[in-house]
Amino acid sequence: MKIVKAEEAISSVNDGDSLMIGGFLGVGTPETLIDELIKQNKKNLTIICNDTSFENKGIGKLIYNKLARKVITSHIGTNKETQRQYIEKELEVELVPQGTLIERIRAGGVGLGGVLTPTGVGTIVEEGKQVIEIDGKKYLLEKAIRAKVALIKAKRADHVGNLQFALTAINFNPMMGLAADLVIAEVEELVPTGVISPEHVQFPGALVDYVVIGGRSK
């Protein structure tokens, strides 16, 4: 783990990369890292995220600034710009049920080939997917998903890089941290090792590549 400025961390992201970004309607989203992506004007990104937030918040800003080529997400209903770009074919959108999305990310992170879920069976989500019957019940085979980089947000990190999340700001963050080749964590504060009890660490610092100190949640 290295503590770096957002500028240095984000310089590891290349045009065309796939990015997992944490957050649920902007809560638990690394805003400082997102602002830096925009500043460095990264292009053609594939973004994997729960939702595209609002036009002026979190992942919404990446859509508004046209950094994304494709979004894999469960919900775009709170961001009119995402819907507009999608309908006008400026942006590719793959809609995935939220529970399936998190499990596909988890599978990618924990070395499973995919997920066998009842969610989506018999709906348009089934299209093009293998249906597997187990003991008389049907399940969709939803493939594991990984990304080049995960941008995650935690409340605090210790000097080892161990992370602790706040309240409902945890959401997709820890699983995304398992499912990417490079893990960049934005935190609000750095604390001495030991301040976060070993029983309360929620993500191991040994898997974090960069820690960036960002602002407080607003």
């Binding site: 649920f24 309607l25 902007g26 809560v27 638990g28 729960n50 939702d51 997400t73 469960s74 919900h75 775009i76 209903g77 709170t78 819907q83 999608y86 309908i87 959108v93 809609l95 049920p97 939220q98 529970g99 399936t100 998190i102 499990e103 988890r106 879920t117 009842p118 969610t119 989506g120 069976v121 018999g122 709906t123 348009i124 989500v125 409340k155 999340f165 706040a166 309240l167 409902t168 700001a169 945890i170 959401n171 997709f172 963050n173 820890p174 699983m175 929620q202 407080r216 949640s217 607003k218």
Partner: protein
């Protein structure tokens, strides 16, 4: 009491003490207003919380604490936070007693469509597909019509949310139970007749002998 409040109040009667309940965005959120505190219902937010108390004012808001609709909330004593994978584990694993959702359409088979109108409105399914697939009981809470058009139809022409039959439909005029025989009208509001109800319902309704009057 307006239509939405009437629906919310009726849905609230379904719960039993200690139940785990997920309320969808919009109308379903109102249901919480009619649940007595001493029933100790655990309200679940798929974004990662079990034990939602209520929405809170700007002054009490914590920026890291929202419900699945993005509103700032407070929690009850004994609440718990978790990540999305645990949250949907609860949903898909059948640990929720009830999920209450809005609908664009419900049909005679009890199928629900509530996540997109092709070419027009594409919010995405969010957690709805998992909720309808996984909860022990699914209650659809919606106004009986939209701009005068029936929402309870013979067959959904919008993309389905799940092929799982919902357990109950509650509107301002009726409580309807989808079964393998069809839609059974369990309760009717006192301010509408069966004939009038049929006119604003596209699907066939089965009228049982013991039809009750809905408490409003």
């Amino acid at each position: 009491m307006n239509s939405k409040e009437r629906i919310a109040k009726r849905v609230a009667k379904e719960f039993k003490p200690g139940n785990i309940v997920n309320l969808g965005i919009g109308l379903p959120t109102l249901v919480a207003n009619y649940v007595p505190k001493d029933m100790n219902i655990f309200f679940h937010g798929e974004n990662g919380v079990l034990g939602i108390a209520s929405e809170v004012s700007e002054e009490k808001a914590n920026p890291d604490l929202i419900n699945a609709g993005g509103k700032f909330i407070d929690i009850i004593p004994g609440a718990m936070f978790f990540d999305t994978s645990f949250s949907f584990g609860l949903i898909r694993g059948g640990h929720l007693d009830y999920t209450v959702l809005g609908a664009l359409q419900v049909d005679e088979e009890g199928h629900l469509a509530n996540w997109m109108i092709p070419g027009k409105l594409i919010p995405g399914m969010g957690g709805a597909m998992d909720l309808v697939t996984g909860a022990k009981k699914v209650i659809v809470a919606m106004t009986h019509t939209t701009k005068g058009k029936p929402k309870i139809v013979k067959k959904c022409n919008l993309p389905l949310t799940s092929t799982r039959r919902v357990d109950l439909i509650v509107t301002e005029y009726a409580v309807i139970e989808p079964t393998d025989k069809g839609l059974i009208l369990k309760e009717i509001a006192p301010d509408i007749t069966v004939e009038e109800l049929k006119k604003i319902t596209d699907a066939k309704l089965i009228i049982p002998d013991d039809l009750k009057i809905m408490e409003v």
